[in-house]
Every structure is written in structure tokens, then in C-alpha cells.
């Protein structure tokens, strides 16, 4: 898995790679230095740059002072001082509420929720306070400077409370943005965009990739635009849409499908709310088939929203029903994790991907 991942990531780094990735990032070629970094180091670099470029930005959360349990905030407290990078007590609701207040005064509050599974006490603050502040005050106030970072997703042995993917809950809330990077280079650019975006953003980091994913990341300050999906692999037979760590699984499924002569187009959504409908629509109009994959349980997962929208927009161009390969409708299990996960086998054998030529037109 690790070698496949690094191969995958290295492919992305090459500009104009064989897969024809349309790089929408603003990386300068040639003159800027790059460094081989893993995900948590890339996030760390982004945070360093964010704090450096805006003196009114703050990073806080549980245990961020010493570097954080995933090392994402290493060196920040030492460099910027305890008044800007500080620990909070164990109270997610309090932390996010506090962040909203700080942001309402025109500051950039980068809040860390230690693990996405713990974000629920803060759910009210995010949905009822952060998302609606600008709207209900008639634009007098806003908490756009708020960015909430949380590690999400399966990690192999996380069990019920260290593996959840709660993105769907937040995608249902107009007023906030939901962003999920797939790799170190993406993470740095997307995090800087999220922090600087004048809207509150919930930024989910795939914790499985913190150490596993290694990529060449430019050392300078760069941003990757939000709400722009990226076609990371071009194809003509079927469109696959995903985000975060799941893309590496889908990449493997694409490689398998290729051996059977199926040309797959893989899209990284990057921003789930508001999501880039145009890119996905154009792709599905080209291929006629869509497969969506995410770790979260299938019922009510974000794949349902994508499916419904594409159905509305591309109905006459679809040659098969939209397929969703997702987590099962169970609580995230402990010993059963390997069966719960949407593995590449499940993706490969889904009706859309296995034999599209044999599927009837409805």
C-alpha cells in the first residue's frame, strides 16, 4: 500500500505527467524549491506560513503546544509564542465557540479538533453560530477567519471513535465550507486557501496519510483554489469521484480496470461544500458513467448529493445508474474494519466498473 501510495503521489508531482493532470495549483516551475514531505509536515509548513503572514492569526486546540498528537503543530509555539499558539482544556464546544468569537473580532482562528470523531460537541456552534453569523447579522459581523482542522478517516485500527468520516453532516450546512485534501502538496495549498478564505471552513485531514503519503511539496507560500475539482487521471469510459485518502484506493481500482481495457477518469473533488458541479458534469457527459466512493456510510453520505445532482444535469447522457462504493451502514467497527471499508475490490467489482460495455442503456 505504501509503495503504491508513494508512486501515486510522486506521479502527481511531475508537471504534465502521463496522466495529463490538469494542475490548478499556482506552483512556479523551476525556480522554487521543493522538499519531500509527508502530510503532517506539509500541514505544519502551511501553518507556519499562515502565522507568519498574518500577525492576527492564532492556532489553538488540545495539545497543540507541544506539536499536537499528530505532529501537525510542531514548532509553532516555539516560533510564534504561547500567546498565539496555545493549548485549550478538553472542551470542543468551548473551543469552537471561542474560535468563533475570536474570528468575529477580525482574527484568523485556526482551531484544531483532535480527532473528527470528537467534533460533535461543537456541532451546534458550527451549524448554528459559525454558519449563520454573517447571514443573520445582515453582514455586520462574520466569523470568516475561522478554520477548523480535524483529522478524519480510517487508520486501520481506530475503532468506533478514531475513524469516522463526518463530512456529510457538515456538507448540509450552507454558510460553511468543507475541504478535504488528498496529499501533502494539496494539503498545504488547500489549508492556506482555507485559512485565508473569508468564510468559515471545516478542513478534514486524512489521518491515514499523515505519515504514509510523501510528496514533493514546494516550500514557498502557495494556495490552491477552493471549489475547483481536479481531474487527476483522464479517461473516457467512466468517471470516478472521490476525496481524501479514498482516492488512493480508487487509483488502484483504476489501474486494475485499465488492464481490462476500461479507461477511467478520476476526479478529486477537494472542496465538498460548495462543490465543483461543472467539472464533474462535463466529465460525466463525456464518459456517460459515474462511480462515487467514500469511507463514510453509504446512506446519506455525500455521494448521494453528487449522484442526485449529476442525475439532474446529465440524465440523458448516462449509460448506467450512478454507482456508489462506500462504507457500510454500520457504526465504524473495530475488528470488522477490513470488511467495512470500500476497498478497491469492491470498487472494481461494482457494476459500473466491471463491464460497462455490457450494461444496458435505460
Amino acid at each position: 500500500m505504501a509503495s503504491l501510495l508513494s508512486r501515486f503521489c510522486r506521479k502527481l508531482a511531475l508537471p504534465g505527467s502521463a496522466h495529463g493532470s490538469r494542475m490548478t495549483s499556482t506552483t512556479a516551475c523551476g525556480s522554487e524549491t521543493v522538499k519531500s514531505l509527508n502530510l503532517y509536515s506539509a500541514i505544519n509548513q502551511a501553518l507556519h506560513i499562515a502565522l507568519e503572514t498574518d500577525p492576527r492569526s492564532y492556532v489553538f486546540g488540545e495539545d497543540v503546544g507541544f506539536g499536537g498528537v499528530f505532529r501537525c503543530t510542531t514548532g509553532l509555539a516555539e516560533r510564534f509564542g504561547k500567546n498565539r499558539v496555545f493549548n485549550t482544556p478538553l472542551c470542543e464546544q468551548g473551543i469552537v465557540g471561542f474560535g468563533i468569537g475570536l474570528a468575529a473580532m477580525g482574527n484568523r482562528a485556526v482551531v484544531e479538533i483532535q480527532v473528527a470523531d470528537y467534533i460533535y460537541p461543537a456541532f451546534d456552534q458550527i451549524v448554528n453560530e459559525a454558519a449563520k453569523f454573517r447571514y443573520r447579522s445582515g453582514n455586520q459581523f462574520n466569523c470568516g477567519g475561522l478554520t477548523i482542522r480535524a483529522p478524519y478517516g480510517a487508520v486501520g485500527h481506530g475503532g468506533h471513535y478514531h475513524s469516522q468520516s463526518p463530512e456529510a453532516f457538515f456538507c448540509h450546512v450552507p454558510g460553511i465550507k468543507v475541504v478535504i485534501p488528498r496529499s501533502p502538496r494539496e494539503a498545504k495549498g488547500l489549508l492556506l486557501s482555507s485559512i485565508r478564505d473569508p468564510n468559515p471552513v471545516v478542513f478534514f485531514e486524512p489521518k491515514w496519510l499523515y505519515r504514509q503519503a510523501v510528496e514533493e511539496v514546494p516550500e514557498h507560500d502557495y494556495m490552491i483554489p477552493l471549489s475547483q475539482a481536479e481531474i487527476i487521471r483522464e479517461g473516457s469510459d467512466i468517471t470516478l469521484v472521490g476525496w481524501g485518502a479514498q482516492l488512493t484506493v480508487m487509483e488502484q481500482a483504476c489501474l486494475d480496470a485499465e488492464k481490462e481495457g476500461i479507461s477511467c477518469e478520476l476526479i478529486d473533488l477537494k472542496t465538498l461544500l460548495p462543490w465543483d458541479k461543472e467539472t464533474v458534469e462535463a466529465s460525466v457527459k463525456k464518459t456517460g458513467r459515474l462511480l462515487i466512493s467514500h469511507e463514510a456510510p453509504i446512506t446519506g453520505g455525500f455521494g448521494a448529493e453528487i449522484s442526485a445532482t449529476i442525475l439532474e444535469r446529465c440524465f440523458l447522457k448516462l449509460e448506467a445508474p450512478v454507482s456508489r462504493v462506500c462504507g457500510l451502514d454500520t457504526p465504524f467497527p473495530l475488528v470488522f474494519e477490513p470488511f467495512y471499508m470500500p476497498t478497491k475490490n469492491k470498487a472494481s467489482s461494482s457494476s459500473s466498473l466491471s463491464s460497462p460495455s455490457k450494461t444496458h442503456i435505460f
Partner: protein, 403 residues
């Protein structure tokens, strides 16, 4: 030195007792003659008169304290090795050092009183009458575990002993505990609920909500803050404006207890139960300590010195304290206690070996117990595959036929 003084006294006063206990020393003493021991520290109280420092106990009780705590200690150490051997996966939060809280509490209450705690629940489970085999099976995710292998380390439960678990989200068990207390009061059960939480959880908002409700409705809830002074890696003075957790109830009375002294814990819990049945909630702060880190992925030495840990072990260890009491009161010799520990070790090893042989749950268990069967909520498994090929936690291939 103390021993010689005592034995000279025993020749004049306690000789009959000494000779009879000599005969009984081959197994756990059934002598229930009350012995009065003073707790090492006085109780500090908030809004209430503290209980007396003189605790009534007996040889039988002290020996059972020793044996049960030694069992708990051994179990946690065995769990440590199993985790490092990758037989226990996920998370494992060990309780060694805090055994006195579980043991002392059990001595003061019945199985009809409910206990609910956080994820550091292995020893609490044992205290409630749980078996070693069930515990190790659950830790290793086997079907013979107390939660059928579906819960793991953080989710031990025992319904017949009113042990409501076993909770992963910090502080979430406190409102639950108050709900349990409400049910007990409503049913006039003359029982109370002990809701345990840590010093880290003490800063959760839901705790204060639950406290207010419990006080408002006079619920028989005893909130026990197991203050081991570190919320994961954060020392209490860095996370709480007022680390006097027994006072944080404000209008709710509180008691600070030396949590390393099983007898003090017993006295406090007895006192708290009586109070809760008559007057509503009370907070107990157990001043305790954990030798291990927060969990198995925490070495436990980056935020505190090794000297501190070994210092507590030397001076305040709960098992050693009871050991000294037993020897001082001539209930058993040092060798007999060591033999008891060896016996305990064998018991634990046997349970581990047996648990290792147990099967993992059937794949169909992935879908069971989400909803109640037969109410139209059959889970749809979307995949044409009948057999799934996957890789288990130990990287070995796993094939399963899912329904």
C-alpha cells in the same frame, strides 16, 4: 521495627487471635472481626462535614483487597504485553496505580448500585465481578468477550452487575450517569449511580449540565472525579483554573479522598451513597495516579518525570499500602502474600492463554445489533461480491462471506 513492637503486644493481648489466624493463614482469612484503621490523610470537604478517618475493616476484607488489586495489576501488565505483541489492537488505556478506587468503591456498594465510567474501564469491570477470560477476550476482539468482541478495550459492560461501561468520548458518560440515577430514584430502588470521569473530562460542558440537573432534581448520583493529575499529557494546573475538582460542583457538596488508600475510598463511597440516597448528588475527588501513560501509544514520560512516577510507586502504591497493613496486623506473612501474587499471576496467564484460543466474531456480527431485528431495518450491503477479500489487522488475508 513496627512488627516487633506489635508482636510483643500481641503476646499479651492478641495471642488467642494470633494463634487462630496462624491456622487460617493457608487461605484467605474468613475472620470478619472488625479492625479499625485510620486513613492516612484526612478528608477535605466542601459544603459538608467529612466522614470520620476511622474505617472499619476486617482481615477478610484486607486480604480480598490485596488479592483483587494484585489481580487487577497483573491484568493490566498482561494487557500491556499483549498490546505490544499486537494481539490487542486499537486503543488500550491502563488503570494500574488506580486500583484502589475500583476496589474501595466495590467494598462500599452493592451490585444494584450502578457504575458508569470512561474508557479506562478494565479494572472497574473486574471489580463488578467481570471475569479475566471475558476481559482478555474482549481486549483481543474475540467473540467470548463481554461485549462479544465488538467493543474492545474501551467498551466493557456487565448488565447483571449494573456496570454501564465503558465510554470512548470524554465526559459523555456523565449525563448518562445522571440519567441512570434518575431511573433508580423513580423506581425507588434505594440504589445510587457512581459516575466516574477524569480530570480532563472535568472541563467538559456537559458535566455541568448534568450536575445542575442532578442537583435540581435531587438525584442519587455520586460523581467521582478520578484525578490522576494528567488529562492525557496535560497537567491539571494547565487545563483547569481550579483543580479542586471536588469544589467545582459549587452548590453540590464534595469530598476530596486519597485515591491510593482503598480504605479511604471505601469510607468515602459509603458516606457518599448514604448522602446521595437522602440529599442528592455529591462529588468525590479521588486523588490517584496512573503509572502507565494515557494509553499504550503514550510513553507517559514526556510530560512527567520518571522520578515522579517511581516516587508515587514507592510511597503511595495502593497494593503496597494494603500489604503493609496486612503484615502490620499479622493477618498474613510477606511470603504468603507473595505466594498469593504468584497464584494471581498464574490465573492471569491461564486466562490469557484461554482467550487467545477464542474465535473472532462471525462476519455477520458486523451487521448485528445496529437496530432491533424485525422492525424493517435490515441493512443493505451493496456489493455483488459474496466473498470479500480483505486484509486483517495482522496483515493476513481475510476472506469472509457477508450476508
Amino acid at each position: 521495627m513496627a512488627l516487633s513492637r506489635l508482636s510483643s503486644r500481641s503476646t499479651t493481648l492478641l495471642q488467642p487471635l494470633a494463634t487462630t489466624s496462624l491456622l487460617r493463614r493457608r487461605h484467605i482469612s474468613t475472620d470478619t472481626t472488625p479492625i479499625t484503621v485510620e486513613t492516612s490523610l484526612p478528608f477535605t470537604s466542601h459544603l459538608i462535614s467529612p466522614p470520620s478517618r476511622a474505617v472499619e475493616t476486617s482481615s477478610q476484607e484486607l486480604l480480598s483487597f490485596f488479592r483483587d488489586m494484585a489481580l487487577m495489576r497483573r491484568m493490566e501488565i498482561a494487557a500491556d504485553s499483549l498490546y505490544k505483541a499486537k494481539l490487542i489492537r486499537g486503543f488500550c488505556h491502563l488503570y494500574d496505580g488506580q486500583e484502589a478506587v475500583a476496589i474501595g468503591m466495590e467494598a462500599a456498594i452493592t451490585k444494584r448500585d450502578a457504575i458508569i465510567t470512561s474508557y479506562r474501564d478494565h479494572c472497574t469491570f473486574l471489580g463488578r465481578g467481570g471475569g479475566l477470560f471475558e476481559a482478555f477476550s474482549e481486549l483481543m476482539g474475540r467473540t467470548t468477550g463481554c461485549s462479544k468482541g465488538k467493543g474492545g478495550s474501551m467498551h466493557f459492560y456487565k448488565k447483571d452487575a449494573s456496570f454501564y461501561g465503558g465510554h470512548g468520548i470524554v465526559g459523555a458518560q456523565v449525563p448518562l450517569g445522571c440519567g441512570l440515577a434518575f431511573a433508580q430514584k423513580y423506581s425507588k430502588e434505594e440504589a445510587v449511580t457512581f459516575t466516574l470521569y477524569g480530570d480532563g473530562a472535568a472541563n467538559q460542558g456537559q458535566l455541568f449540565e448534568a450536575l445542575n440537573i442532578a442537583a435540581l432534581w435531587d438525584l442519587p448520583a455520586v460523581l467521582v472525579c478520578e484525578n490522576n493529575h494528567y488529562g492525557m499529557g496535560t497537567a491539571e494546573w494547565r487545563s483547569a483554573k481550579s483543580p479542586a475538582y471536588f469544589k467545582r460542583g459549587d452548590y453540590v457538596p464534595g469530598l476530596k479522598v486519597d485515591g491510593m488508600d482503598a480504605l479511604a475510598v471505601k469510607q468515602a463511597c459509603k458516606f457518599a451513597k448514604e448522602h446521595a440516597l437522602k440529599n442528592g448528588p455529591i462529588i468525590l475527588e479521588m486523588d490517584t495516579y496512573r503509572y502507565h501513560g494515557h494509553s499504550m501509544s503514550d510513553p507517559g514520560s514526556t510530560y512527567r518525570t520518571r522520578d515522579e512516577i517511581s516516587g508515587v510507586r514507592q510511597v503511595r502504591d495502593p497494593i503496597d499500602r494494603v500489604r503493609k497493613l496486612i503484615i502490620a496486623h499479622d493477618i498474613a506473612t510477606e511470603k504468603e502474600l507473595k505466594d498469593m501474587e504468584k497464584e494471581v499471576r498464574k490465573e492471569v496467564d491461564a486466562a490469557v492463554a484461554q482467550a487467545k484460543e477464542s474465535p473472532i466474531p462471525e462476519p455477520s456480527e458486523l451487521f448485528s445489533n445496529i437496530y432491533v431485528k424485525g422492525f424493517g431495518a435490515e441493512v443493505n450491503f451493496i456489493s455483488p461480491l459474496e466473498t470479500t477479500l480483505s486484509f486483517g489487522a495482522d496483515r493476513k488475508e481475510l476472506r469472509a462471506t457477508l450476508p
